[in-house]
Structure formats: C-alpha cells, structure tokens
Point group: C2
Chain length 344, copies 2
C-alpha cells in the first residue's frame, strides 16, 4: 500500500455517524484519493459533500469494494455482517462501527488512546466500540493502568444521536409539538423523549439488563485486556442532541486520591479535565458537542468504596463514540503500516 | 385540639411546592377550617385559590401564626430558620420542607411510608426530607428491612421543578429560544438546561460532592435508623419538568433475588411496580407527573455486587418529594393525635 492516498468507502454515508465520518476524514486530512459513499437501497441516490464536491450515494453491492483500500461501516449490524466478509475478500480493510464483530477474537476492538497496540493484529476487520463505553474508557482506562480498576457502577445520560439522524429529528419535532400544545407523535422511540428520560437503550436481555448496559463490561474487558473487570450499568436516553455523559463510581486495587487521579488524567490523551465546581465548571454534553476530546470532572473520593473515585465524563457521541474513533483507528493503521488485509 | 378542623398556614404559598401543598390539602380533604397563605415580602399580595376561593397571600410576620394549628413551610432555609421557632412558640406545629432542621436530633425527619413511628416524638417541628432521598427510599427502605442494605451507588435525573417555579419557566423559555434560533437567556441555572444536563444540584462542598448528593446518605441514615448506611451519589439536573428518576445499585447483607425483591416491593405502600421491559414498560418521569405513588422498575441482579440489586425509581418531585409527603406527615399527626406543640 505504501503511504499513498487510498480509495475510501463509507457504508451508511447518509446516517448521523456516516455523515460525521466523511466530515472527519476531510477535517483531519486523511489521505483519501476518492471517496465512495455507499448505503443500502433505502438511501442510495442521495447526495453527500466531500471536499466541496457533491457525490451521489451508491447502493452497496458485490463490486462496491473493488480497489477500495479502507471502508468505514456504519449502517448497522446486518449490513456489516453481510458486506464485511465481501469487502475484506476484495482486499479492503474495514473499520466497523456496529456490534457485529466486537467479540470475535480475530477482530481487534480498539479505542486508539487505550489499546492502539492491538491494531496490527487485525485480519482485515477492526471493530469500533460502543459509544458510551469508548467515552467512559477515555477516563477509566488511564485510571485502571495507574490504580487497577476492580469494578465500576455507572449511569449514562445518552444523547438521541446514538439512535441516528431520525432520533435527532424526533426530539426537535416533539419539543415543538409540546410547546405548541399539539399531539406528540412517535416514530423512533417507544415513548416521548422530549421532557422525559427513558431507561432503555438497545434491546433488553433476559437478565433485565439491556445489551447497551452489558457493553461496558464486555467491551471494557476486551479493550482494557482486563477479563475480571465488572461493570454495573444503567443506560438512560435523555433529551440531549449529540453528546453522552456518564456518572462513574470506580473501585481500585490500589489506594487512590483525587490529586493522584487528576495527575493521571492530565496526561491522558484525548481527554480534558474540566473540574472547577466552585465556579460551576464541569463537563456538560452541550459544551462537548463537536469536540474531539472528551471531558472529565466532578472528581471526588467515593463515599461508599474504600479505594474508590467518582467522576463524570462527557463526550461527543458521533465523534469519540463513533466517527472520530473509526478514523483514528485508520490513522493508526497508516502510522503502523498495516492498512492492508493480511494474506492467508 | 380534638379532631376538628384547623386553621392551616402555608408559607411559600406561591412557589412550586407551596402551590402544590394547597392543592394536596384540598384534594385529600385535610380538615382545614381556614387557609392562611403566607409568603415573604416579594410574593405577598399575589392570589392563590383554595376550594374555589381566591385568597390573598399575606406577608409572613410575627402575628401570622396566632391561632394556626398547622403550618407547612416551603419558602427556603432562611425563612424556615427565622419563622419556625416563632410559629411553634405560638402553638403552631410546623412541617418544614427546607433542609434547615433535618439533622436536628429534636426534629423527626419523616417519610410516612418508612418511619411514621417517628412522628409522635416531635416537639412542634417535623422535617420533610430531600425530594430525591424520599423518592429513592420509597423503594430502598422496604428492601433494606427485608435484606439489610449496606450501601448504594446512585445517579439521579432530577427535574427542574426541584429548583422552583422559575426553573420550570426557564426550561420552557430556553427550549423555545433554541427552536427559534434565538439567543438563550439564563436566569436560574448557571448554564443552559434545555438540551443539556448539569451535574450540579445544590451547592458544592469541599469534598467535591454537592450538598444534594450527601443528603441521600445523611437523611437516609436518619429516616431508616441505619447509621452505617453508605451512599455514593451523583445528582444531575435534566430537562424534565416535574418528576425525578434515580438509578440505584444496592448492596445487601442477605442474599437477594429479583423475585424476592419484587415480592417485597409489591407490598410497599405508595409504590407501584412498573417493570415489563420486554414491552417497553418501565418508570419514566413524564408518566409519574401528578401521581401520588412512586414507580419502580428495571429490577435486576447487580453485575458488580455479590448481594446486589439494581433498580430504577421515579416519583413526582412536587408530590412525594415535597407537598404530598408534608401533608401525609400532618395526616399521621392527626391519626396519632399528636398534631399539637407539646408543652415544656
């Protein structure tokens, strides 16, 4: 592959994440020779813009990946399962934003600031983690390395962007309907999200947890190489547009102080400490929207754990939680000269 | 006092809680002979309605409590401290919604469904608990009695009504400003609350916790008579109008199962089990607004605790969290024939 420009495909190019992937590729100067926007039949024919040029979205098909060096997938689990093997067979490396391959032992699951060293083990496919997990790990993983995290108790405050572009539209529409006293219509969520919160993100499992809630433990274990990590999580959708927040109580093996934790977090890449509560300075979703870095604050010793720390972390769901993380994985592959499907 | 009707004062009669106190007194048929709506100078002269009659709010003064048998206070800590002793000296029993007296050993702190037996010990003053604590204890206290709660990890999703009527107005105004692309104005909160969440409820302490976050442990200990109870809490304001929700991980002394917990909660007064996640049935703040009962759901074994249970509880902040709880305390005093200031 050398280091020259690549043909790059984006599958799910018209979705909330796909749109952001195209922006991030352009904004970060990723060496794209030509961009191939792809989608399933429903969205084919729409237009996207890349470097000032309008491009027509093509329907994904068996020939879509010929000559393509990198594909970023964000069209959901079913298209990923269908087109992932076809793309890699065509010699295209895939960074997949769905949960389809995250637990496949042959597929690295990567937050670049945490486990970039896992990138070169890929066999053509790398998985992008769950958004809430990625945002939480930006603060938790460096603390784990320093103090040894046993377990966390976490509650999320998740933006509607995690459900996609139609959910952002739904929140805006419902707020308008409420303000004007009109009947509230629902198309995306089972209940009104405007002026409400829903303790329901992704599907429910027989255990009573949602799939989303279990991703923190399952993906956290793989990304942090920490099979004993335990996470008790409640995931909640809130009427916020595009950034997630997470309240975390973390228990550590080693004694932890706020000062020591702050020193660790100050060195953590991709993370800003926003923590001056006396002046009402703390992370908030509205003010991390559009930012590459996540923000951590509300650092304090945990009242109910002996070696425990509480913190509050917020991050742009479409950036750290999806598009930025995927492009950074591709950048790691370029930097490590492994942006190719290995033979055999 | 006998059991006959009383003259009843409401201090803070024009606030969000005071307005609701007057509604609850009327709705529950509390034996009010005359209602005396009181407020500090700022709100005196406004009108309130009780049993279809418009009443003019009087400025609270040294003579306001003459002949008054019961006063419900909800004007904030400073007026409570100023007027509480004057009212009780005049022979008026005070149920105070502020935090001013909650930790006074001579003042019972009561959630009637949990510790009504503490009511008769009052010396003229009974404190109403913090709203988030009261709502959480509706589910936690019965579980504690059955299984022995060691500690909880909790995150709140608190409605703007907890800040008062002006905060409800602020949320509506800001949402309208955002929808119309106008500049967002702030009068109550230090940051925009519309389409945002603020990890900031009440003032910050040197420990990094807010006062609100510590109320769960401090008031929980007193109400449950459980001095070893530990609570690690993050309190967060969300753009919801008038009901709070709390995500709780609770650790118990005895083994707990979802079935055993459900059986305990099914017998708990003032609480509805709303828990059929497969059909998207779980408590939500929008749907407990205006309801006397709190709602609990999302029952599941805790992933990170050995004898642990996760649950999600929601309740109307102005009712269980304030006005209803206060009127129920007064009802308990009537029923126990102790609605009088004891002598000596």
């Amino acid at each position: 592959m050398g280091g020259g420009p690549l043909d790059v495909a984006v599958l799910g190019a018209t979705g909330a994440v796909g749109t952001e992937m195209i922006h991030v590729l352009e904004r970060r100067g990723f060496p794209v020779r030509t961009l191939r926007p792809l989608a399933t039949a429903r969205s084919a024919g729409k237009q996207v813009t890349f470097r000032g040029q309008a491009l027509t979205v093509q329907e994904v098909g068996p020939d879509s990946f010929a000559g393509v060096g990198l594909a970023l997938f964000s069209a959901g689990g079913t298209p990923s399962k269908q087109w992932g093997p076809i793309a890699t067979a065509a010699g295209c490396v895939v960074v997949d934003n769905s949960s389809a391959f995250r637990h496949d032992p042959a597929v690295p699951l990567v937050v670049p600031q945490v486990n970039a060293a896992d990138v070169p083990a890929h066999r053509g496919l790398i998985a992008n983690p769950n958004c809430t997990t990625a945002i939480t790990l930006m603060a938790l993983a460096p603390l784990h390395r320093a103090f040894g995290c046993r377990r966390i108790f976490a509650s999320s405050y998740q933006a509607v962007s995690g459900t996609g572009a139609r959910a952002i539209e739904e929140l805006g529409r419902q707020v308008d309907q409420v303000l004007h006293g009109r009947p509230v219509t629902k198309e995306v969520y089972p209940h009104q999200i405007a002026f409400n919160v829903l303790p329901h993100v992704d599907a429910f499992l027989p255990s009573g947890y949602t799939k989303e809630e279990m991703k923190m433990e399952n993906e956290g274990r793989k990304i942090m190489h920490h099979p004993a990590f335990r996470a008790s999580v409640t995931c909640v959708r809130v009427p916020v547009n595009r950034a997630h927040s997470v309240a975390v109580s973390a228990e550590f093996e080693k004694p932890v102080t706020v000062e020591a934790a702050r020193a660790v977090l100050a060195r953590a890449p991709g993370l800003d400490i926003v923590d001056d509560p006396a002046n009402a300075v703390y992370p908030m979703p509205l003010f991390v929207e559009g930012k590459d870095n996540c923000a951590v604050g509300r650092l304090r010793l945990d009242c109910a754990l002996d070696n425990g720390l509480c913190f509050w972390v917020a991050g742009d769901q479409l950036l750290r939680g999806a598009a930025l993380n995927a492009v950074e994985i591709a950048e790691e592959m370029l930097a490590r000269d492994c942006l190719r499907v290995p033979r055999g």
